[in-house]
């Protein structure tokens, strides 16, 4: 388990991470989503021991991460802009990682490279961005670590490759309890694979829950009322967002679906329907509460 407790991180005067506490369970896929500049990459770099927190602590299996080699052997970090040695080939990277990661599986690396149709002796600096990402992912999987930290790794992969990677992750999760932590803007992709989601905004955590729990506890309704209504006119409802278009109201609210429906019904709507909530809508709704609203961005 990865445990981050009361983490602060400053870059000069800028507070990039503000009192983040997160728990990432083993053998689950953790999705880290957030607004631009929320601190996703910074948080991943803290997890990877690249940055040292200014306050709080980060542990993996109750051991601190920073400068702790046995702990660092348990994860592989894929940066959003991964570094490769000058003029190196995938084989060169394989050999280097094999020296560094004790459980590195060279045959698996070779097999994965072949299945992804990548040349082992071609210089990586001649690869496309997507191909470089593929090499990174293959290195990560072959390293046989317990955790993989992926910073926008899926961006840049074509849909087929994305599926392939998801399948690989899924297989390793089942087989050896791999725990990927994936930071991404592509919420639709994360929705398919993540068990747990953490939403960051302006350095802090808005939400961190199992995806199913979130979906069980946040619901989207559309209803029609004759008279105009405000948020205050819905007592007993924990409304996250309320949008009105004419007499059509779209409400996203927390709580049990039956209870929400009961409350709305008690207000004599002309129309009431519960709708499925996507991760994207959930993200937008949650961040809107904190003022991150698309309407404010439009002039």
């Amino acid at each position: 388990m990865i445990l981050a407790q009361n983490i602060d991180k400053y870059f000069g005067d800028i507070k990039a991470i503000d009192n983040i506490s997160l728990e990432i369970k083993k053998s689950s896929v953790f999705g880290l989503v957030g607004t631009n500049g929320a601190g996703k990459s910074t948080f991943l770099r803290l997890l990877a021991g690249i940055l040292k927190p200014d306050a709080g602590k980060i542990t993996i299996g109750d051991a601190p991460v920073f400068e702790n080699i046995p702990v660092k052997e348990r994860f592989f970090y894929i940066s959003d802009d991964q570094y490769f040695f000058s003029n190196c080939t995938p084989l060169d990277m394989r050999n280097y990682y094999a020296r560094v990661y004790p459980n590195f599986d060279k045959p698996r690396f070779d097999a994965l490279l072949k299945s992804f149709d990548l040349s082992p002796t071609r210089k990586i600096n001649t690869f496309s961005k997507g191909m470089k990402k593929q090499v990174s992912i293959i290195c990560a999987i072959a390293a046989q670590t317990d955790y993989i930290f992926c910073d926008e790794t899926f961006d840049g992969l074509d849909p087929v490759m994305r599926q392939a990677v998801k399948s690989l992750f899924a297989a390793d999760i089942i087989e050896r309890g791999l725990t990927p932590i994936i930071a991404s803007h592509n919420l639709r992709e994360l929705e398919d694979i993540c068990d747990h989601v953490g939403i960051l905004h302006k350095g802090g955590v808005i939400l961190s829950r199992d995806l199913d729990d979130i979906k069980d506890n946040i619901h989207k309704l559309q209803c029609i009322f004759q008279k105009p209504l405000q948020k205050e006119d819905f007592p007993g409802l924990d409304i996250i967002t309320l949008h009105q278009r004419g007499s059509l109201y779209t409400i996203i609210a927390r709580g049990n679906s039956d209870e929400i429906a009961k409350i709305i019904s008690g207000m004599d709507p002309l129309f009431l329907e519960l709708l499925p909530l996507s991760l994207e809508e959930l993200f937008i709704s949650e961040t809107e509460v904190f003022g991150y609203d698309v309407k404010k961005l439009l002039v």
Binding site: F11, R45, A48, G49, I50, L51, K52, E67, I69, P70, K72, E73, F76, Y77, S79, D81, Q82, Y83, F85, S86, C88, Y96, R99, V100, Y101, P102, F149
Partner: protein, 737 residues
């Protein structure tokens, strides 16, 4: 699998080397041409030119060439190592300046310490391996040419040690600079600054003292050694011209170890987010900026101040303000990588300005009383005096020693002017007080003048030195005479005369009037003097010493010396100054004759012979030098040319081309220029005799510091000889009271 606990992993080091192979290749290219190729070409040239050289010369040249390749002073190797050290450090630690690379390396299960050691070691090996290969190839070339026996293995090993040590030192300093900064260019600049700051500070110190402290004894300050010791880079560059001592190598090792530890510790705590910033540690910024700003402020201030002759403080202020503003704004711009940094941190600049103003008041107003320092007599245990007019005839013994620096010479001259009795100390203090008092006055310098260097050895162990600029003899003669009468002073001045007799040889006796003689040699007398029996030589030297010690300042004030006795003094095996060899090291020459051996191993010293030295003159007469040898032969004087360049005559005038041609034909090139002062020609015998009584040969004045002369009024004495066009001559000066 690598060892987790060890910081040292050979495979990672080799990996790092392989990834940066261009560096070792470039280094090898440099060493290859500087060592085996150069050696092969040189040896080939010697073989081809063998017939033009003697065997001894050829061997000396081969030894010199072969050993210069390996020696610590080899300029080619030094240049390669310095560049390689800086480039290698910047290359192997380049990764800490790139966010991408930092993310990669610091996320790996590799301790930061191991990363540091890996890259540090790879950077060193990337230069040393090519160097070792080049050495092996050079040795092979030498062996192939059958010249292995000429290798001086002590030179070889010392050279290797010094190159390797200094390379590692400069490399480690550059690594530290790299770690302190977040950008490779800034890291390189800081490295150069760290290596150069020592010499800069020394130069500033010398400039400050010279500018604001007229009593600063600059001759005593060994600026060359100070500069050489101010930085490992400076020390390395000066190897060869300034000797390298064993303890200095240990100092380099210690410094390198300290810098290494600092670099290592800072690397461990260096924040990853510093990648790409100008300075990696916020504390480092002021520590780097303000010393630099200080150097620029003081340097520019002194430059402007000195450009107006040190007369106007406005230019000191102007230069200081320019230096402070320009340097601080540039550094703020660099720190932020943004031109808008020009407006940043004025508060810091203001604080610096206040501190600088406080600092500069000290030299401007001499708040420490440096220039006015004069100890009380009861505080002083010993005084040492050095005056250039007094020292002139003792200089040879010092210049004859090998490898003496300027301040060693000055130190020795001070040692030769020791005074310990209270009476003498008080006389010296009176002299110093007079010099200090008269410093700012304007004087005419038409004759003898002298500066004063004085060193006080206090009873509390402190040694304090001061120097005063020249004054005319007429100002200080009264204060100087008691010192010249001091037996202790004379004994320390003429230290040569107290050397063991077998270290002394008599080279010659020369009259100052020898120009008027037909032959310079006195009928074989000079040769006879060189081969005196030891007991006669001893008697002559002892007699002369007694006469010299008995000479009083009143007598010196009255008479000029008649001539000189030249002694050859054997160079000591070790100089009086610790660590400085008296003889040329390493290469022993085979002497073809006794004269060459004499020249190499003996120093020449001249001592004056005064008319009062009756016993000496009598003994010399017994040895074949007649009394009239010391007198001018007036009959041989053809004419006198009196040249008066004093203010009451027109001075130099241009002469017509015809007159110039006439003068040229008559007097030769030596005495004629197109703007010469036209001399007054005297041919009357009585007038010649009268003038000769009032003048003395110019050489005589340099052996008597109490006789004054008028340098504006010289007399060229032309002698008759066998040449039609050109005449032998000698310059005389009018003696003044």
């Amino acid at each position: 699998m690598m060892s987790k606990n060890s910081l040292f992993d050979w495979r990672l080091i080799m990996d790092a080397l392989r990834k940066t192979l261009w560096g070792p290749c470039l280094a090898f290219l440099g060493f290859f041409f500087a060592m085996p190729v150069y050696c092969a070409i040189s040896l080939q040239n010697y073989k081809q030119g063998a017939s033009e050289m003697t065997q001894a010369m050829r061997e000396v040249n081969i030894i010199s060439t072969i050993n210069s390749i390996f020696a610590g002073g080899s300029p080619l190797l030094k240049a390669i190592f310095i560049v390689a050290a800086i480039v290698s450090a910047l290359t192997f630690f380049y990764f800490i300046h790139s966010k991408k690379r930092v993310d990669f390396y610091f996320s790996l299960p590799v301790k930061r310490g191991k990363l540091f050691i890996t890259n540090y070691s790879a950077g060193i090996l990337g230069v040393l391996i090519p160097y070792i290969v080049a050495i092996i190839l050079t040795l092979a070339v030498i062996g192939f040419n059958g010249m292995g026996s000429y290798i001086r293995w002590d030179v070889f090993w010392i050279g290797l040690a010094s190159h390797v040590l200094f390379f590692i030192c400069i490399y480690t300093v550059t690594v530290l600079a790299d770690i302190l900064t977040g950008h490779p260019v800034i890291g390189g600049l800081l490295a150069v600054l760290l290596l150069a700051i020592g010499p800069i500070i020394v130069a500033l110190y010398i400039g400050l003292m010279d500018t604001f402290y007229p009593a600063f004894y600059s001759n005593l300050f060994d600026s060359s050694t100070a500069l050489a010791h101010s930085s490992p880079l400076a020390k390395y560059v000066t190897i060869g011209s300034i000797p390298l001592h064993g303890y200095e190598l240990w100092l380099v090792i210690l410094l390198t170890a300290l810098v290494f530890i600092a670099a290592y510790r800072l690397f461990l705590i260096r924040r990853s987010e510093a990648a790409g910033k100008a300075v990696a540690f916020s504390l480092a910024h002021p520590l780097i900026e303000y010393p630099l700003v200080f150097v620029a402020t003081l340097g520019l201030g002194m430059l402007f101040y000195e450009s107006v002759g040190g007369e106007n403080y406005f230019w000191l202020f102007f230069g200081s303000v320019c230096g402070a503003l320009i340097s601080s704004r540039i550094l703020e711009i660099i720190n932020r990588f943004d031109f808008k940094g020009i407006r940043a941190n004025f508060k810091g600049l203001l604080i610096f300005a206040i501190c600088y103003v406080v600092f500069i008041c000290f030299p401007i107003f001499d708040l420490t009383g440096y220039n006015d320092y004069l100890p009380a007599a009861e505080e002083v245990q010993e005084v040492r005096i050095s005056m250039d007019s007094v020292n002139s005839f003792t200089n040879d013994i010092i210049y004859g020693q090998y490898n003496q620096s300027g301040n060693d010479i000055e130190n020795q001259q001070l040692q030769m002017g020791k005074l310990t009795s209270q009476e003498d100390i008080q006389a010296a203090l009176a002299l110093a007080a007079l010099f200090h008092q008269e410093q700012d006055k304007d004087y005419e310098y038409d004759g003898q003048s002298s500066d004063l260097g004085i060193q006080y050895v206090l009873k509390n162990g402190k040694i304090i030195s001061r120097h005063y600029d020249s004054l005319p003899l007429s100002v200080y003669i009264s204060e100087l005479k008691p010192i010249l009468n001091s037996l202790e002073f004379k004994e320390s001045q003429f230290v040569t005369l107290h050397r063991p007799i077998d270290e002394l040889k008599i080279a010659s006796i020369t009259s100052f009037e020898s120009g008027s003689k037909e032959f310079l040699d006195i009928g074989g007398g000079q040769t006879k003097l060189k081969n005196l029996r030891p007991e006669i030589k001893e008697e002559l030297i002892q007699t002369y010493t007694e006469d010299l010690m008995a000479l009083t300042s009143n007598q010196m004030e009255k008479d000029v010396p008649l001539g000189i006795i030249t002694l050859l003094v054997r160079n000591p095996e070790e100089s009086t100054t610790p660590g400085i060899a008296a003889k040329a090291p390493e290469i022993e020459y085979t002497y073809s004759n006794a004269e060459a051996e004499e020249e190499m191993n003996y120093a020449t010293v001249n001592f004056p012979i005064y008319p009062e030295f009756a016993k000496t003159l009598s003994l010399l007469e017994e040895l074949g030098i007649p009394q009239d040898y010391w007198q001018a032969n007036l009959a041989n004087i053809r004419e006198l040319q009196i040249i008066d360049q004093s203010g009451d005559k027109p001075g130099t005038i241009a002469i017509s081309t015809e007159d110039y041609k006439v003068q040229l034909e008559k007097y030769g090139n030596s005495y004629t220029t197109q703007t010469t002062t036209v001399p007054t020609i005297i041919t009357d015998r009585a007038e010649i005799a009268r003038i000769m009584k009032e003048t003395a040969p110019s050489a005589a004045f340099s052996y008597n510091c109490l006789i004054n002369f008028d340098s504006n009024k010289s007399v060229e004495v032309l002698y008759a000889n066998n040449y039609e066009k050109y005449y032998a001559s000698q310059r005389y000066y009018l003696i003044t009271k």
